[in-house]
């Protein structure tokens, strides 16, 4: 797959909010060509992208999907059902969304999802290769605590998904963004990465993050 080749540095981001623009900046620092879309026409986010992610391209969601093999979904989660179900066919789709009742309102399906919200996202976009990742740190961490490979004290980010080649590609992306990458296992293991989970919102190194996820998997 071209999307996971070692030389491919193209990234698509759906969502031009705090998270989308911050990841865009981090990715551009890592040498990626980044295309971003927001809700509505590209003109609506042109100024945002120009100021907050200069160098990225503001385009339509369709153009984002066409621009790269890896697409990051960085919307408020209550908006994800507004996207066409086949939009991401064949693409690696990084679900960076979290469900917050205070932001998203009461959504029974997401609030009670026994295997985690990313499984719901995968069901919706059944032709996409969904990987849950980039959701368990604060958005600002993407620029404040990025470190080159091998630096002592580097923070880790986990990725969970059923398509192992897709997970491998996302692990590589995480490393390039400036974090140690931890394979969390199957998509339903993403439950441990959610708010309320054992690793959410706290910065961990790779060893510690792996141990916490292992402990969670063993107790489940």
């Amino acid at each position: 797959m071209s999307s996971s080749s070692a030389t491919d540095r193209r990234l698509g981001i759906v969502g031009a909010g705090k998270m989308g623009t911050t990841v865009a900046r981090a990715a551009m620092s890592a040498g990626y060509d980044v295309a971003l879309s927001g809700s509505g026409p590209p003109e609506r986010i042109a100024l945002i992208v120009d100021v907050l992610a200069p160098g990225a391209r503001a385009v339509t969601a369709d153009e984002v999907v066409g621009s790269a093999g890896i697409i990051i979904l960085a919307l408020p989660i209550h908006r994800f059902r507004e996207l066409p179900q086949d939009l991401f066919a064949g693409k690696i789709l990084v679900d960076a969304m979290n469900y917050w009742e205070d932001i998203d309102g009461v959504d029974e399906e997401l609030a009670t999802a026994p295997l985690g919200t990313s499984v719901v996202v995968q069901q919706r976009f059944s032709s996409a290769r969904v990987v849950k990742s980039l959701n368990h740190l604060g958005y600002y961490d993407f620029e404040e605590i990025r470190r080159p490979t091998g630096v002592v004290g580097r923070i880790a980010i986990a990725a969970a998904g059923d398509d192992r080649a897709a997970v491998a590609a996302v692990l590589q992306l995480i490393d390039r963004l400036g974090f140690d990458a931890v394979d969390a296992g199957r998509l339903e293991a993403g439950l441990a990465l959610q708010p309320d989970g054992p690793v959410f919102g706290v910065r961990h190194g790779a060893g510690e993050l792996s141990e916490l996820l292992w402990a969670e998997a063993s107790s489940a």
């Binding site: 031009a16 909010g17 705090k18 623009t21 900046r25 981090a26 620092s29 890592a30 040498g31 927001g38 100024l47 945002i48 120009d50 100021v51 907050l52 209550h78 917050w100 009742e101 205070d102 932001i103 998203d104 309102g105 009461v106 959504d107 604060g138 600002y140 620029e143 404040e144 605590i145 990025r146 470190r147 080159p148 490979t149 630096v151 390039r176 963004l177 400036g178 959610q194 708010p195 309320d196 989970g197 959410f200 919102g201 706290v202």
Partner: protein, 377 residues
């Protein structure tokens, strides 16, 4: 020295120093819960004190929760108006999405009249959202609700009579509302928590911007300040004021401020951890928020130095300080207001009148600094 390296231009005398309160149900000094009606009267006393020590504005939040008594701030503000002469009286924030803008207008135009022109508003979402189910709104409609209600409110403020129609309330036809507002009264700010689209919206409506920085360093908001300025320009508006809201506590010494505020702060975040899935509070995180985050806490000198730095860094013309987080007793709230008005605010103005420190020796990073290490591979 380039303009970027010394921070943004500010005039110390023009800066508005406000106090914000959530009217927390407090405890007394022996730790017993104080009845809600007493908490409300205590808050009026706190505002009267704020006026007497020279603070520029007193602003009340809006919640519908057992631990906060701020469900009808405008009534409290009217009581405060009757006992003060000078201090401006406002909200922080009015949850406009779940209010009727017609009622917001009539309440606050009346407050403006009884206070002789001292009313002001910040409209926004707030970080807690219990008002949506309470008043029968769907949080998923947040964007549409806020947009529509801000549209109607600005029309009511700017060009009565108003003919207007929308989705969430009945239309208005050639509607005048009483009392009329004198030109320029009831300044209305838009409160934002970091969403770029919210910043753009404030600029589109030509309204001043209030940044709520309730976690982490304020420099994260520097790009949004740039975005706001660019957007104002793009929409053809003149530059408008930018303010910021953060929490804190001041006592005689740094140690005393930490000792008083920590248990109440921890209490709030224990609740948030249980309710919202956040990480549990630790002393380490508390100290990090004080050292390089959103808490303006410590001795008068410590707090003044930090406030002066952020005002310079972001080019603020208003700083609202949410004094005493959580169930801090009334007596300690009064003491912190007294220190803030008599020592911190004059000291901030003094610091801002001095030439800025060289960046190399300053703790305030340049606004374009996004972290020490970038990844180079």
């Amino acid at each position: 020295m380039t303009p970027e390296s010394k921070g943004r231009d500010v005039n110390p005398e023009d800066i508005e120093f406000g106090l914000d309160t959530f009217v927390y149900a407090s405890v007394d000094e022996s730790g017993r819960a104080v009845d809600g009606d007493i908490v409300i009267r205590n808050t009026v006393e706190e505002a009267v004190l704020a006026d007497s020590v020279g603070i520029d504005s007193f602003n009340i939040a809006e919640h519908y929760r057992p631990e906060m008594m701020d469900s009808a701030g405008h009534v409290m503000l009217a009581a405060i108006a009757g006992r003060t002469e000078r201090i401006r009286l406002g909200t922080a924030v009015t949850v406009l999405s779940t209010q009727d803008p017609v009622r917001v207008y009539t309440n606050f135009a009346t407050l403006d009249a009884v206070s002789n022109g001292r009313a002001q508003l910040i409209v926004g979402r707030g970080s807690l959202t219990e008002s949506f189910p309470l008043f029968g709104f769907d949080l998923a409609d947040y964007e549409e609700l806020f947009e529509e209600k801000l549209d109607l409110l600005t029309r009511l403020l700017r060009d009565q009579p108003v003919t207007w129609s929308g989705t969430f309330r009945p239309p208005l036809t050639n509607q005048y509302l009483s009392p009329p507002l004198p030109e320029g009264h009831l300044p209305t700010w838009v409160g934002v928590g970091g969403s770029p689209q919210s910043v753009i919206r404030a600029a589109r409506y030509g309204l001043p911007l209030m940044l709520a920085v309730i976690g982490g360093p304020a420099r994260r908001f520097a790009p949004l300040v740039d975005l706001y300025k660019r957007a104002l320009d793009a929409y053809g508006h003149a530059p408008l004021p930018i303010g910021m809201h953060s929490h804190g506590f001041v006592a005689r010494t740094d140690d005393e401020a930490v000792a008083i505020q920590w248990p109440y702060w921890a209490d709030i975040f224990e609740g948030a951890a249980a309710e919202r899935g956040w990480a549990r509070p630790t002393m380490e995180r508390f100290q990090a928020e004080i050292a390089d985050g959103s808490l303006y806490l410590g001795s008068p000198e410590t707090v003044a130095t930090k406030i002066a730095a952020v005002i310079r860094q972001l080019g603020l013309s208003r700083f609202d300080w949410a004094y005493a987080t959580g169930r801090v007793p009334h007596e300690q709230r009064m003491a912190t207001i007294e220190l803030y008005g008599r020592e911190v605010v004059p000291r901030v103005r003094e610091l801002l009148a001095e030439p800025p420190a060289e960046p190399a020796s300053s703790s305030a990073p340049a606004t374009t600094d996004v972290g020490a290490a970038s990844v180079q591979q």
